[in-house]
Symmetry: C3
Subunit: 344 residues, 3 copies
Amino acid sequence: MGYTLSEIAAAVGGELFGDPEYTVSALGSLEHATAEQLSFLSNPKFSNLLGCSEAGAVLIRNVQDAEQVRNAIVVRNPYLAFAKVSALFASPGQGWGKVIHPSAVIHSDAKVGMNVTIAPNVSIGAHAEIADGCTIGAGTVIGEQVQIGEKTRLAANVTLYDGVRLGARCIVHSGAVIGADGFGFAPNDGVWVKIHQLGSVCIGEDVEIGANTTIDCGAIDDTIIGNGVKIDNLVQIAHNVVIGDNSAIAGCVGIAGSTVIGKNCTIAGGVGLAGHITLVDNVHITAMSLVTRSIDTPGSYSSGTALDSTQKWRKSAARLRRIESMAAHISKLEKQVNTLLTKG
Amino acid sequence: MGYTLSEIAAAVGGELFGDPEYTVSALGSLEHATAEQLSFLSNPKFSNLLGCSEAGAVLIRNVQDAEQVRNAIVVRNPYLAFAKVSALFASPGQGWGKVIHPSAVIHSDAKVGMNVTIAPNVSIGAHAEIADGCTIGAGTVIGEQVQIGEKTRLAANVTLYDGVRLGARCIVHSGAVIGADGFGFAPNDGVWVKIHQLGSVCIGEDVEIGANTTIDCGAIDDTIIGNGVKIDNLVQIAHNVVIGDNSAIAGCVGIAGSTVIGKNCTIAGGVGLAGHITLVDNVHITAMSLVTRSIDTPGSYSSGTALDSTQKWRKSAARLRRIESMAAHISKLEKQVNTLLTKG
Amino acid sequence: MGYTLSEIAAAVGGELFGDPEYTVSALGSLEHATAEQLSFLSNPKFSNLLGCSEAGAVLIRNVQDAEQVRNAIVVRNPYLAFAKVSALFASPGQGWGKVIHPSAVIHSDAKVGMNVTIAPNVSIGAHAEIADGCTIGAGTVIGEQVQIGEKTRLAANVTLYDGVRLGARCIVHSGAVIGADGFGFAPNDGVWVKIHQLGSVCIGEDVEIGANTTIDCGAIDDTIIGNGVKIDNLVQIAHNVVIGDNSAIAGCVGIAGSTVIGKNCTIAGGVGLAGHITLVDNVHITAMSLVTRSIDTPGSYSSGTALDSTQKWRKSAARLRRIESMAAHISKLEKQVNTLLTKG
């Protein structure tokens, strides 16, 4: 498999400086790429690396850099161009063929569209509907009445509970669990009484869901994930959360029940969001912050403390526990100094 | 499916204000419920919403509020009543029938009780014992010598390692892994020597375990989860942890080895508990706190810092690293001021 | 199953004080061990427990302690000796026999070595190569072109994506997902364009990977896990991370993309590591710390705050948000006091 540079330039809408018939057969990082590989420079800070690169061709932004490399394709946004090119070189596995493996168990009341690939040991429940062009990985379990849009790909060992709806062109990675019961219990004399979770999960189009991520069904209404949302691995999304279009959630994030996240938000790794709060559009939360209140102004927000040596950190942490006392000392000093100044 | 209001009132022990033959066919939130749906008002702060609700009937606490809605059922605890009613409307999937699917692989030495539903592609090991009325979801793997009590439900793609014991009426959600090896290694000249984990996991009755949660087996003795414990998604419970009856653990919590949690504790989302510590009964830990010492007094505990704009947070975090220096400045000032005051 | 004390002493290279023909049939903790069980004392602080133990024999360090117990085996490192003995008592399940279960689906182009055990409902893709002596648990999915070294054990419901390579003698626990797509997208007019992840995951020898842990494939180059690395449950390892030999990663850790961890590091539970940073060898990070910068000096590092009652914590956290103002007050006081001192 390979592409000529003229094909690549056409695919990304770029201007080629070099040999249009030169062929690249894979992608490579600037440092490791060989003469058969295409690379890219997105951060102009690293343009000094260009001269040392063995890459057969490089996607770059500045025309001046073109002469430093074997062949160059100049584009406005090299990182975006690289994303587009990556699709050309992605090779979906074809080992089981474009077929439904005979070991898959498909309920007679389920509907499976055209050109659907179903790997071994899949289970598909009654009244499930799988649109054309979908791919279902081995061991994946699809519950009753699940609806899956066109060209959506479920990796191996995914679980979709009954009634979950997924839009077109989604990607769900292995181990993801969508539609498990929300965590709802009414306390009664020291014992928890289960609130049966009667809602479901509704996921838009072009959504990607990471490995071992969990998205719970709603208690009454549905949990809702907007179009173009990207969710990384090991993320927990509780019942009745709503996530706006094109927001991105990094790994290990936990979002508690009924919280609403706006559009185009980015939530960095390990962040926790309390329940029943609302974040407007274009909010960014930095890694491992805890958000316990609604945010009504776009911008970047943080909590936590900076890293230190454990020895120094122990002292700071102990001192921080006495910060109220420090403040009281300052107040007392201020009064004393004011007295002295007045006297003077 | 539907229930008359007289049936609902009887089920929750409430007093009906309205038409006993009125039928509701589903539950709805106060804001979105239609005339065919039953809703509830648990927080009296929101009683002003009652007048606007289209709900066919509402579970309420105060008799005075009855006239604001189409039909009312007055109960002491509307949230608890709602939990009870939710069970009436829950519909366990029936697509595979009350049978053992022929694709399930059940070892000839395993014992399966009466009225057990086993979905496709399940695997059940030798000497496993599954009591009457259990439901086993598709793709679930049950190891050797596992014991499962009556009416326990395992969702799809659950994994129970050899020897795990689960009490009656438990619910285990998809992707949960119970009984994997605890994380135990002895260091030896820069290399880790595995301590084989020989204990198991013993889980009480009426326990719920969330999706993709992991509970490790004990090193020698067992890991123990008490009766009525509720565990949310993506929780990590290490080897030899003991959790007391009716404690609740929210999503993304991590509990390190040999830690003991009392009864009726609540651990909020993202909390970390160090190993080898003990929490007494009725301890509450707020979200994303780190607990590094035992807690011997009931109450609520926290760590962490409050959210701020990233710009302001950067300054505070940098300043906090110098808090020891601030304290030294205050001490010096106090001495100087005392000198001045003495002189004066 | 049982071993005489002379066999045990030989296995651990220890000196026996007691009856060489005495037989132990299991391991037990010092507190709970019976006369049929072998125990150990690794921390000399607890030597007072020896006199009360019912254990049939105890692995100890100090000869003087030998007379306090029924039988003693004296070794230099009792914890290490215990690790070695634990291997003798570990019983790998044998319920499905040393065979390939007929329900397993193995592609005709896959290569499976000698003495490989494959449990029910496993799926193995085209051109996968599984070396001699491996064990594959039920429901596990092995992608195309995966390579697995000798005697590696995959538990049930593991997922290995296409192209993943695992060395010899690894252990992978249930629910682990290795090789899912890294989280890479190029922003374009408010929409995320997927960067197809073309690298894979390369894992060394003697690596253990915990339940529901996720290790993503690289974007271009591979994600690399060194020899002897031990990874606990629910850990997220992003694309192009490199982990040096014999480092240990505890539960719930998240490591962002392209970060490099040295050899013999220990990362405690719940820690977060930012992307594109480097930790040298022998770095230790304490629980739930966030590391946002490279660390070039071995040692222990921390962030976060100490636990307090929620009531007191609320005040400290609010005060901390005003720490800049506190510092300003101190500066002002210093100037005023200097003025007073000068005057005086």
